[in-house]
Amino acid sequence: MSLIHLQEVTKTYNTAGVPVAALKNLSLSIERQTFVSFIGPSGSGKSTLLNLIGTLDKPTGGKVLVDGVDVATLNRSDAAAFRGNTIGFVFQNFNLIPVLNVYENVEYPLLMLKHVPVKERRERILNLLDKVGMLDQKDKYPNQISGGQKQRVAVARALVTNPKIVLADEPTANLDHATAFKVISIMHEMQKTFGTTFVFSTHDPKIVGEAELIYTLEDGFIINNGRKEQNRSTR
């Protein structure tokens, strides 16, 4: 069974009383351990799709199954627990907690999972910080590091709970090209190392080329999808 399965999913928002469809009868499946990208212009439905997969929002119609769980059936607490155990997030604005240092930011999701012993927790954090090249910055606070470094910390934070999926909404939008590539390559490396499924959205065609599977969205529809090689040839 696919790790992520969307079946005729629609999502409609009510904007000032006017219904606006963000996703229209969208169906797709994402297998385990893949590196998937959603590309499309602003308002195409990328973020909405990631929010639905991330159990942050519920579909208006259709079914969203993540790791076999129908996200529409989860209440607030169950959804939080599900996210904590199954999904890691990387945000466009990094969203590190300003009062926690680098080490503590990575540690935070683990504190939500009660069963991780202190020793294992520490090993996991240091190992990840080492892998993303932030070990020597572990005592610094978010306002003391650069954007690229923040996003590397965010990647480490997303991976620290050993999630099955990492969702990254425009993770490189606030980074320069070189840093963006570095972050994406770190994500790629992590995907290979931990076997995590990475799903990210972007509107940067150079970055999207790094994905194994690319979906193009427009006005709430998938207008194109395919493997990396296929996609490059169609460009």
């Binding site: 929010n51 991330g54 942050l56 929002d57 607030r76 607490s77 939080a80 627990a81 996210r83 904590g84 155990n85 890691g88 997030f89 945000f91 604005n93 969203n95 907690i97 300003p98 009062v99 926690l100 935070y108 999701p109 504190l111 939500m112 999972l113 934070r157 997303a158 709970t161």
Partner: protein, 410 residues
């Protein structure tokens, strides 16, 4: 929990100036409660001490119905020898009772042979009176060097205003004239041995004579006791002792009734006003804490909407978000109250060091403010509980935020 506290405290100090201003305001409220409470309690304790230790005693026992007509000083509502003995027996069996003093209270005329005035007399056994109202002697200026014998048979201690009004001096002889309960009038000469400053103010006309003189004046074969003043070993036992005595006098065959000083002194209403003022100050504190914490926590939640979205997205359950903000408000209350208590106790220490002396009517009051530990603890608990209460609404709002909306907040 440790991590939640860490995050809460760090968030508090994220906006140093704002936190400092708010906690200063709360601390000021705590200081107000502690210093005002200390002064008010000290004032009340001093006043109650003056009243109970120089005149009333902690409790008084009378014949049933006497207190209702106390202004008339009725002689017919007295305890007979056997009734007094029964009451005395009860008092002797109570370990909380330090001393007691029987009195005959009556109204009389005082004459210097040229002028006459009225006087309210307490006929006492000086040695028992002195053990019961220990500070009475301090208010008497007399010609006796022996403190144990401030009053002997044939002597009278006259209130200050009568001394002045009648132009009397210590050592002068005056005549006391009184009507006994049968209606017959009698008079006896007595010598002025001392002058007393009344605790009841310049209008006070309370004098003291020996009980044997009262018996002669009122033509009593046996002492008919009107009033028994009681002193307790510990004033704090007042309520318990009062209840015990009340129970033992409740039976139909008992002729006595007991009253606390509060029921007999007009100062009790002043004491109640003081208590009321302390409560008002506590309400001011509650309002300060409520408004300050509610304001700072509401601002804190609205400034951190995206952050709340982030922590919710990465798996923080709503209950944990609620706890996080409640802890933040609670920590604010705790830090402020700790600071306030320290400053408040410091001010009380300084006041004790310098001492505040003033006259309250005829009484010299020397304020040595002190606040019971229980009052400090109650104040701290109030601040902490109100902080939690005030934080609840903003914390609940934070916990109920939809992560997807919160993350999109700019």
């Amino acid at each position: 929990m440790r991590n939640l506290i860490k995050i809460a405290v760090r968030n508090l100090f994220r906006y140093n100036r704002r936190t400092l201003l708010t906690s200063s305001l709360i601390a000021f409220g705590v200081v107000l409660v502690i210093v005002f409470g200390g002064l008010a309690i000290s004032f009340k304790t001093q006043m109650v001490g003056v009243i109970t230790n120089t005149a009333l005693g902690d409790l008084q026992i009378h014949k049933k119905g006497y207190v209702e007509s106390i202004d008339n000083l009725p002689l017919n509502l007295s305890l007979s020898e056997s009734e007094y003995a029964a009451v005395e027996q009860v008092l002797r069996e109570m370990p909380e009772v330090e001393a007691y003093s029987p009195r005959i209270k009556f109204g009389a005329m005082i004459s210097n042979y040229a002028q006459t005035s009225n006087i309210r007399l307490s006929a006492i056994r000086p040695e028992m009176e002195q053990k019961t109202v220990t500070d009475l002697v301090k208010r008497i200026k007399n010609d006796s060097a022996e403190s144990g014998a401030f009053l002997r048979p044939g002597e009278i201690v006259v209130p200050e205003n009568l001394m002045k009004g009648l132009g009397l001096n210590i050592g002068d002889e005056i005549v006391l004239i009184a009507t006994n309960k049968d209606g017959s009038v009698n008079g006896i000469p007595v010598r002025i041995s001392g002058v007393i400053e009344s605790v009841l103010g310049p209008m006070g006309k309370d004098g003291y004579i020996h009980i044997t003189d009262a018996m002669a004046l009122l033509r009593m074969d046996k002492a008919e006791i009107i009033e028994i003043a009681v002193k307790l070993k510990r004033f704090e036992e007042l309520g318990n002792v009062y209840q015990t005595l009340k129970r033992s006098f409740d039976s139909a065959e008992s002729v006595a009734e007991v009253h606390t000083w509060e029921e007999l002194s007009p100062f009790s209403s002043v004491a109640r006003i003081v208590d009321l003022l302390i409560i008002v100050v506590k309400f001011i504190l509650i309002s300060i804490v409520l408004v300050s914490i509610l304001n700072i926590m509401t601002m804190s939640v609205f400034e951190r909407v995206a952050e709340i979205g982030t922590i919710a997205a990465i798996g923080t359950p709503p209950g944990r978000i609620l706890s996080m903000f409640l802890l933040e408000g609670f920590s604010m209350g705790l830090l402020s109250t700790a600071g306030g208590v320290l400053v408040g106790l410091g001010i009380i220490w300084l006041m004790n060091f310098t001492r505040i002396n003033f006259r309250f009517g005829p009484m010299d009051v020397s304020l040595a403010p002190s606040i019971p530990a229980s009052e400090v603890i109650v104040t701290m608990v109030i601040v902490m509980l109100v902080s939690l209460f005030a934080s609840f609404h903003p914390a609940y709002k934070a916990a109920r935020m939809e992560p997807v909306d919160a993350l999109g907040h700019v």
